[in-house]
């Protein structure tokens, strides 16, 4: 517990986001000085989007955030179990350790705002407002799943809550999110598009093309890099010449900041700054959230590339434990209430798993239903052994 306390306190002081306004020459110079000052200087130089510490969140809100984080935690643990039971196929990337980031980001969005994510997305789907049953059923590949069983873990989509897709190709969602923001701008709407990605994505061409286009055309899109330090097993230091990924915004004169992703309120405040700038000024923003990945890249990855010390340190970095401690210390949620909440959430997840398990598989007769939205003659609808022509 002492370790956790220390980690929590440390986070409180680091909770404030660093910020870089790469918008003009003068500001860029300031940013450069900021960079010269080193990380500590950068942290203190420009107060960003509010401070951590929870001063502006009431007890009820904090408990609600904790509950959402817990829901994601229990959901992912349950998904991992279902995966080992072969209830879930394919790849399965979990958000364990990312809970505070997810809940903080989603708290900054309106229900009408759009979200694009990568393939590590179950928690985002839940926090954007999709029912745990639909998310779990998608993992189980059932017709009641959020993508009717066509997408699986990496490809969730929901028109109602405006989750416009989880995408399995690293970086693929960035141009799409940029284009969605273009559509918002074209139509004169006030929605914001948020686009989530991992740290490895900062190396891909689509990242740079999208940031350039978004800044060039003043599009209301917030790019959020979740920096968990590892692209699969490759550390950020080994894949990025500028490992402080938020600084890449400066190349596009895009405002950018880094925030401690284990502090839900710090994330919310940083995201609010980014989202409101996008909404009111129609300017893109690059936000980096540092957030631990508590397990391997996916369920089946034992993460042997991590040392014993690194694994031990991860325990201290657990945002859920830190939040529990914070709420207990503040007298908001004691152990008993926390256990009650846990039981409630666990029951909800068990219900979701049971629902998924009981749901029907998609009927094979629907195999050709979603190739084209506009039907055309000559579309070939044949199964592997069928002849092209039936005479």
């Amino acid at each position: 517990m002492a370790e956790t306390t220390k980690a929590t306190r440390s986070r409180r002081t680091r909770g404030a986001a660093r910020q870089d306004t790469g918008a003009s020459g003068a500001e860029s110079e300031a940013a450069a000085r900021d960079a010269d000052a080193g990380p500590a200087g950068a942290e203190n130089a420009q107060a960003p989007a509010g401070t951590a510490g929870g001063a502006d969140a009431d007890a009820e809100t904090l408990v609600a955030y904790y509950r959402q984080m817990l829901l994601i935690r229990r959901f992912e643990e349950r998904a991992a179990r279902a995966y080992t039971q072969a209830k879930i196929g394919g790849y399965c990337h979990l958000n364990l350790g990312e809970e505070a980031t997810i809940v903080g980001l989603m708290a900054a969005l309106r229900p009408t705002d759009y979200l694009f994510t990568n393939y590590r997305e179950h928690g985002y789907a839940l926090a954007k407002g999709i029912d745990a049953r639909s998310v779990m059923a998608e993992l189980y590949g059932r017709s009641t799943g959020v993508s009717k069983g066509w997408g699986g873990s990496m490809h969730m989509f929901d028109v109602k809550t405006r989750l416009l897709g989880g995408y399995g190709i690293v970086g693929g969602q960035l141009p799409l999110a940029t284009g969605a923001a273009l559509a918002v701008s074209y139509k004169g709407g006030d929605e914001v598009v948020m686009c989530h990605m991992g740290d490895g994505t900062a190396a891909i061409g689509a990242f740079h093309e999208s940031l350039n286009i978004a800044a060039l055309w003043n599009l209301p899109v917030v790019f959020v890099v979740i920096n968990n330090g590892l692209g699969m097993g490759t550390t950020v230091d080994r894949s990025a010449a500028e490992p402080e990924l938020w600084r890449r915004g400066a190349a596009y004169r895009m405002e950018s900041a880094r925030v401690d992703g284990t502090d839900v309120l710090a994330v919310r405040e940083a995201a609010r700054t980014a989202v409101e700038r996008a909404r009111t000024e129609s300017k893109p923003y690059l936000l980096e959230a540092t957030s631990p990945r508590l397990r391997g890249h996916s369920v089946v990855d034992p993460a042997r590339y991590r040392s014993a010390e690194e694994k031990e340190a991860l325990k201290a970095a657990d945002p859920l434990a830190a939040m529990a401690l914070r709420l207990e210390e503040a007298g908001i949620l004691d152990a008993e209430a926390r256990d009650k909440l846990d039981a409630e959430v666990t029951a909800e997840i068990e219900d979701a798993a049971a629902f998924a398990d009981d749901s029907p598989h998609p009927d094979v007769s629907t195999l050709f239903d979603y190739t084209y939205a506009t039907p055309v003659p000559s579309e070939l609808r044949r199964l592997p052994a069928d002849p092209v022509f039936r005479s």
């Binding site: 759009y114 799943g145 993508s147 009717k148 069983g149 066509w150 997408g151 490809h155 969730m156 989509f157 929901d158 028109v159 416009l164 897709g165 995408y167 190709i169 693929g172 960035l174 141009p175 799409l176 999110a177 940029t178 284009g179 969605a180 923001a181 273009l182 559509a183 918002v184 074209y186 139509k187 061409g205 689509a206 093309e209 999208s210 350039n212 286009i213 060039l216 239903d369 979603y370 190739t371 084209y372 939205a373 506009t374 055309v376 003659p377 000559s378 579309e379 070939l380 002849p387 092209v388 022509f389």
Partner: protein, 338 residues
């Protein structure tokens, strides 16, 4: 009726569609201020402004992906990729995203996107600027690929593509832009074409020549030359590469008993390979000779003119293949088929 170039038909149709539907807008490199590398978008920036005629940075993956994202929110972007060679930079967005979004998410979101792009060699542009890689897109379920060969067909097909809710790759050809044909005086009166339908553009009885885009033109020219020798060639213009109108192809070959496929791409694994496989499966018992393919030589296209000419399919090479095939049927005397 008015006689216009393929280029003019495209330009006037884009304009008509933009006037018809506020959600239609154009994106691409050099389409605005420069008015298009091949002047397809001439005058449109002046008329519609930057909101609807959007110059993009040189970032094919970025701007094609952005067009897909805009289409997901209900707009109808028409993207110009300067030549099909550059579409390879956007391959991930076209194949992994535009083609997948409707199916992968269980039919929740369509992608009403058009990508216009010309293929074609013969302009001494060298190996990277002379390719015909429509096959890459024709291979992928979820995409539609069309390749009209005349101004009227280009207009009708472009309208169909813009009004279609799926991503459509609209293949043009450098050699077709200055070709002429008749269209209604008011291009708004052109009826949208049916994607997925081929057309018999010249009826005949002795042999079927199958082509698309530039080679559909060459096929008609060859049929005319053969007619002078008493050979009646039927020409099938595919118009749509995906979906492929197999019925029209097979029906024609069943009538004529033999076929030559004319394609501007490479032979191995090319579009012609799919047509040939279709013919053997649908008209095996009607064939009097093996199906022949006329296709580009399997080399990176050279710059030097004699080498380029030798590598590209031509009317002469098609005539040779037709005569060889007719000879193989045994139906015509060697004298006639010489």
């Amino acid at each position: 009726m008015a006689t216009v170039t393929y280029r003019q038909a495209l330009r006037d149709t884009l304009r008509a569609e933009m006037l018809r539907d506020e959600n239609v807008f154009l994106m691409g490199e050099e389409i605005g201020v420069f008015e298009g590398s091949y002047k397809i978008t001439e005058g449109l920036l002046k008329e519609f402004g930057e909101r609807r005629v959007r110059d993009t940075p040189i970032a094919e993956e970025g701007f094609v992906g952005a067009a897909i994202g805009a289409a997901m929110l209900g707009l109808r972007p028409v993207v110009e990729i300067m030549t099909i060679n550059f579409s390879l930079l956007a391959l991930d967005q076209i194949v992994n995203h535009a083609a997948k979004i409707y199916g992968m998410f269980g039919g929740q979101c369509s992608v009403p996107l058009v990508i216009r792009t010309p293929g074609g060699g013969g302009q001494q542009l060298g190996a990277t600027h002379s390719q015909n890689v429509e096959l890459y897109y024709s291979f992928v379920p979820g995409l539609k690929v069309v390749a009209p060969s005349t101004p009227l067909e280009a207009s009708a097909m472009l309208k169909a593509a813009i009004r279609d809710d799926d991503p459509v790759l609209f293949l043009e050809n450098l050699a077709l832009y200055n070709t002429k044909g008749e269209v209604p005086d008011d291009i708004a009166e052109v009826e949208p074409a049916q994607i997925g339908r081929a057309a018999v553009t010249r009826p005949g009885t002795d042999i079927t020549i199958i082509g698309y885009s530039r080679m559909a033109h060459v096929a008609l020219e060859v049929a005319e030359r053969l007619a002078a020798d008493g050979i009646s060639a039927e020409v099938v213009d595919l118009r749509s590469l995906r979906p492929l109108d197999r019925e029209t192809i097979v029906a024609s070959v069943r009538r004529t008993g033999c076929a030559v496929i004319a394609e501007d791409d490479w032979l191995t694994y090319g579009i012609g390979a799919e047509i040939a496989a279709t013919i053997q499966e649908g008209a095996f018992d009607w064939l009097d000779a093996p199906v022949r393919r006329v296709a580009m030589a399997e080399v990176p296209l050279p710059y030097a003119k004699p080498l380029e000419l030798a590598a590209l399919p031509s009317a002469d090479s098609l005539v040779t293949a037709v005569r060889d095939t007719l000879r193989a049927t045994g139906r015509l005397s060697l004298e006639t088929a010489r």
